[in-house]
Amino acid sequence: MANDQSIGEALRARGISRRGFLKFCAATASMMALPPSMVPGIARALEQARRPSVIWLSFQECTGCTESLTRSHSPTVEGLIFDTISLDYHHTLQAASGSAAEAARVTAMKENWGKYLLVVDGSVPVGNPGFSTIAGVSNMDMLLETAAGAAAIISVGSCAAFGGIPYAKPNPTGALPVSAFLSEYGKRIPNTFGADESGQTDPVDVTGKTVINVSGCPPIPVVITGVLAHFLTFDKLPELDDLGRPLAFYGKSIHDRCYRRPFYDKGLFANSFDDEGAKKGWCLYKLGCKGPTTYNACATTKWNGGTSFPIQSGHPCLGCSQPDFWDGGGFYNSLSTPTEKIARAAVFAAGAAAAVGVALGAANRAKQAHAAKQHEKVTINDLDKGT
């Protein structure tokens, strides 16, 4: 856990030349969606930045986010950034387990109190603390005690950011996203590990801590490392949108950056997955694409090092970086179409209307006939009566 090395020193120690370091900075700037003119500044900042301690907690998750991040056998930019941090605790990746692992976490927290980055993936079950535990400690407790001393909290993946799949109806575990959990439960957390020299341990209030939501199921790897790189370079959090997501990656909708947009505008749609339109690469709106309402970098940054993204491969966007996307009425139904069987309801309604209409018509006719019967003929004698 050598945290006294700067990142520049750490990379040189790995045998990476300055030229290699500059290539690394150029690729990092590109990945962070920063202009190339900022590369010298990034190089200077990364040279001197201290390797931050990162504690990664995994709760109710499928491990897909970790998998997404670590899909590399040799140094990629993502991998390097990951190596430049000091990943002091990660369930899936660490070699230690049991009490040794927990001791590592506690040591990292104590040594870096107030300065470590807390990364969380998976949602937090509050229905019953026993639903998800690590080394006998419930997710709720572990998150609270670790959040107390974190410099920043990053929710990786839609489960941590918005609740994700455990949160979907009927939410049997009472899953909460990290931000919602902390604002509800984080008012008075016992300060177990951050005691100062005098031994003072005032309870900590974490409800004000910013939680960065890196949503997506999973998020694009460069987005995860882009946020880390931003933090390393500028020592502050990137600009966030109103859902707490970094604007650099979530500022534009898929629809606005989709290369198939000209087909949408011209009204050329694929009607099924194997028809002519689909083969010609037409818009997938009719097949349920959630591109218009989804904000993510898939259409520009793409996946697997810029290879492709779902729409390019012929599948409509699921909207996986948006809240409640599992409850959106189905992946293959467009977001604005009716979910009930309207035609059937209309037929029944027509039947009812026929009955009511006939009844009302008969009533009207009866009223008419009655009025006709009641009609009294007026003669000149009746008119004279008045005078």
């Binding site: 809240p323 979910t339 029944f348």
Partner: protein, 220 residues
């Protein structure tokens, strides 16, 4: 309620309820009118009822047998622009055709979305022009009641909310779509019980007037 839950409710049970009310409302009003019948005309027919009726359905849509004044020229032009624009936006916009396809199983080609966008603006402007006319002309203003203004609001709301939803202005996209669908449901629910029913009854009304005149052998 989260915005996803709102959207799910709006496009689910609420849309079903609005459709049912719409269908029942329109059918009941049409049936009531037809079943009431007309009083027997005991005079000798001097011309054809049917031909007179059918002709009038079409002639009423063009300038026929009336003097053109600025008043009715304004009404005609604004009315045409509004109605044509409204039908273009409703029936030739791809996501709308998709809804119709899902409900009724029929679809047809759509216009480019940029064209529909422009037509929407023109239609909104024509509606504003119609309202200005109603407010400024003394006779119209005198005749106008609450229902006239209410129906105007209910008609322009889907156009405005649709424009905002398309351009994603003012709120998150799911919320904007939900508000748009809600405004359409409001229109559907009040449709059969206000003068908007003219969309269906105009054919019967014109036919009746034409048949009446046609039987007497006069032009209508």
């Amino acid at each position: 309620m989260s915005e996803q839950e709102l959207l799910q409710w709006v496009r689910g049970p609420a849309f079903e309820a609005a459709s049912v009310i719409f269908v029942i409302g329109v059918l009941v009003r049409l049936l009531q009118t037809v079943l009431l019948g007309r009083s027997k005309d005991l005079s000798e027919a001097r011309g054809s009822e049917v031909i007179g009726g059918l002709r009038t359905i079409f002639t009423r849509s063009v300038k026929h047998n009336f003097q053109l004044s600025t008043f009715n020229l304004y009404t005609m032009v604004a009315g045409y622009i509004f109605h044509i624009g409204f039908f273009v936006v409703l029936l030739l916009y791809a996501p709308h055709i998709l809804v119709i396809d899902q409900v009724m199983g029929v679809s047809w080609p759509s216009l480019p979305t940029t064209v529909v966008d422009a037509v929407t603006v023109v239609t909104i402007v024509s509606l504003l022009a119609i309202l200005v006319h109603r407010l400024k002309h003394p006779v119209l203003r005198f005749l106008s009641r609450f229902q006239d203004y209410f129906v105007w609001v209910v008609t322009i709301l889907p156009l405005i909310t649709g424009y905002l939803a398309f351009h994603r202005i003012g709120a998150s996209p799911p919320t904007l779509i939900a508000i748009h669908i809600l405004s359409v449901e409001l229109l559907m629910v009040v449709f059969p019980f206000t003068k908007l029913i003219h969309a269906f009854t105009l054919f019967m009304a014109r036919y009746y007037n034409g048949a009446f005149a046609g039987r007497r052998g006069v032009e209508s």
